[in-house]
């Protein structure tokens, strides 16, 4: 979409004028159907590759991204949506709603939240709340969906913000990458850099904690990585629901899911894929879990 207007905005909300609309960015992962039904607005980040620029998920789908990563040369890079993209999205949504809650990828991983904040300031600061989710992918998606469901029920902006703020600290993401190259190149490696080491075969297990990549452990084999992620998840405390995710290789995620479904009965389970923007920073071998801890 030229000009980068947000996705679901066109689809409109369920019925009539809604009180509050929810906006997020393309790093959020969730059930697309439900998101559309709830009218969640999605502002895409950009993926730059070999001179081309693609809007994440709009112009570059997940399968296509990983195919390119396997087959093409060059290094993809990502960038946040522009302030203008947010301004456009907010203006459109505010025509048919009282307020907007805009929930985004951790400020420590991306500047998206900054673009959103500037746009909110410019458009209607008292009607737009911008939330830093301190996470991404399904972690972010989970917060977005729960807030969207609350909003569908007619909650006020304040109530939506309260829910979002209550959920954010309960989100956990644990993942493993089979190479540190992508994290390094993308600059999000953070503390894991010192921990990382140069042996090619090192796989890093990490959390997204406090909004950034925090190393949990380093292991040599994929089998150990799966075990370690499972251990980390089980150590975290009681989960209300969780999603098992992967980039391009479903195998480790399958093994991980098998272990977790065995150990965690009665927990809502989802499976999903990690999209282009995150995939650029982790590499295709990434797999992990996003979960919401019980209150």
């Amino acid at each position: 979409m030229p000009g980068g207007t947000c996705l679901a905005c066109r689809a409109g909300s369920g019925g009539g004028v809604s009180r509050i609309r929810v906006v997020t960015d393309s790093t959020a992962d969730f059930d697309e159907t439900e998101a559309r039904r709830l009218g969640v607005g999605i502002v895409p980040l950009n993926v730059h590759w070999n001179g081309e620029t693609y809007q994440d998920k709009v112009e570059l789908g997940i399968d296509e991204f990983y195919r390119k990563l396997r087959e093409e040369k060059g290094t993809p890079r990502t960038s946040q949506p522009s302030v203008g993209q947010f301004e456009t999205a907010y203006r459109e949504l505010l025509e048919e709603s009282e307020g907007v809650i805009s929930i985004h990828i951790s400020s420590k991983l991306s500047g998206t939240v900054n673009s959103a904040r500037f746009a909110a300031q410019a458009v209607a600061p008292e009607r737009i709340a911008v939330i830093d989710s301190l996470t991404t992918s399904y972690g972010l998606g989970n917060v977005v969906m729960r807030v969207a469901r609350l909003a569908e029920g007619g909650a006020s902006l304040a109530e939506c913000v309260a829910l979002a703020e209550e959920l954010v600290p309960r989100i956990r993401v644990v993942a493993a990458v089979d190479t540190l190259e992508f994290l390094r190149r993308g600059g999000r490696i953070g503390r894991a850099q010192a921990f990382a080491g140069n042996l090619l075969s090192i796989k890093l297990v990490f959390q997204v904690f406090g909004g950034e990549v925090v190393p949990v452990d380093r292991v040599r084999t994929r089998a150990s990585a799966v075990k370690r992620v499972a251990e980390a998840v089980l150590d975290m405390g009681e989960a209300e629901d969780l999603a098992v995710l992967y980039g391009d290789d479903p195998e480790p995620a399958k093994q991980l899911a098998a272990i977790l479904t065995e150990r965690l009965k009665g927990v809502g389970f989802q499976q999903g894929r990690i999209g282009a923007v995150l995939g650029t920073h982790t590499g295709p071998g990434v797999f992990g879990v996003a979960l919401l801890l019980r209150r």
């Binding site: 010192a194 921990f195 080491g197 140069n198 042996l199 090619l200 075969s201 090192i202 190393p215 452990d217 380093r218 292991v219 040599r220 084999t221 994929r222 089998a223």
Partner: protein, 593 residues
Amino acid sequence: MVPAAGAGLFTHAGGVSGLAAEAGRTCRESSDTFGSPARTRFSFSGRQVADQDSVVSRLRISGSDLRQMLEVGTALLEENVELVNSLNVFPVPDGDTGTNMLLTMRSALEEVAKAGGGDVGAVAQAAAHGSLMGARGNSGVILSQILRGMARFIDGRKALDGAEMASALREGANTAYRGIGKPVEGTMLTVAREAADAAVAASQEERTVGQVLRRAVEAARRSLENTPNLLPTLKEAGVVDAGGQGYLLLLEGAYQFLSGERAPRPVTVLRSTSLAPRDVPVEKDLGFCTELLLRGSRLPVDEIRRDMEVMGSSVIVVGDEEMVHIHVHTHRPGDVLNAASRFGSMERVKVENMQLQHSAFVRGLVQPSIAPGPRAALGVVAVAAGPGLARLFQDLGAAAVVPGGQSMNPSIEELVHGVDASGCSRVILLPNNPNVVLTAQQAQALSRLELKVVPTRSIPEGIAAMVAFNPEVDLDSNVAAMSKAAEGVQSIEVTRAVRSTRVNGLEIREGQAIGLLNGVLVEAGDSLEGVAMGVLERAGIAQREVVAIYCGEGVSIEDGRRLARAIRDRWDHAEVEVVDGGQPHYPYIISVE
């Protein structure tokens, strides 16, 4: 009795080599004689042991006598160090029992020389202390324990008679046994014990210290010859125990002094005998340009020069009794500084790495790699030989790397220094070699810092442990995780046999490629790579994921890459990486996880 398979066991010059071969090796033709005691030549000078009536009839020995006994013992050991080194059960190139024991004794003698005289108690004390700090390898540690026990008994005495000498030997043996968690018979311990028992028995009848010691020597020899009957691996390999042989040499030398057969050479000459540094790659490392100014009083310039000459090249030592300027090109600047500091106080110390691409790898303990920033509370110190391996450990987060040193085995003192110099207050030590585990545990006992040892027995175990290290977690949790990680890895070492022998049912020809799996020799063949593939198969690579090949001296990275390709071709699920380790003795060290 000629040994069955003549193999280049050792190459020291002189007609005594054949005799030494006999005395040191099993004759497989007859199971119970290794040269019958009546005929075998005991002393390596080639002469029969002198009869009783030519023994200097000394009822008591003084401190000076004890010192000279230790000196001649060490000299005899030094002359036969290659023999002792070659008595390794596995025909691997880093057999170092002889070198370790020799270096331990040298350290003891240095301390004795520093003490500058005194009675037997003082000499014994000094020897024990010196050997403790300089102990290298398991054999060095055991030896230092023997000296310690002896010193404890001799403490406070001015002279020793025969009975006291015997008691000292017994106390030495007892202390050594106590110091080892799981004492094994058929080793230096057995020889020490049986020699001490014979000495005690002899002291009931004999009068002179020399006579008592002679009985001890005879018993030690019988004990040594019996070690293959106690340890099947010795028998199969056709060797006697290396540590026991070293100990016998020390006793024999001590006796040779008392019997008048041999006089000690001056101490300085002992120290300047150069031990071929087998671990120093001649064509590569240039080492460090080390310069300093030494201040003191009555500085012995000539002695300092002689000391420096064995530690490096391009030696310039000029000055007078109060100030000496020292300049040496050495691979071990730490040793140079340690040695110099014994004479006086050091100023204007300068150590420059002459080989810039190895700047990260510093031999000696002058510059541990401390990451910039505040002093880490918790860190890892690893023992590794080979610039690439050292870089790898540092890269994985080790606070310091201690190089093996001349015999690949650092001394207790070097480990303690390395730990101190790491800049950490809590340290995990990785020995990475079965022959360093004991020294590491001794270092643990001696260190002022909180020090724990994860007893890794190979480089792959060490690296696995290093990978499992997590600075965010406490010391004990790290020790547990690192130990577990080390256990999970299969270690493979591939090299060439230094002699022909028979091990684990395998007939091995000198020069053949041999492969060890977790420290046990399992394969022999013609090519290093072929043997590597064979051991990989045994290591269960089919069920494993990750292989790392560390290339050392004798092969190139290209060779390593070729091997990696062969591995991937045969087991296509495996992730194989090649690292330039630069380690000596083992062209390929391979980890499988």
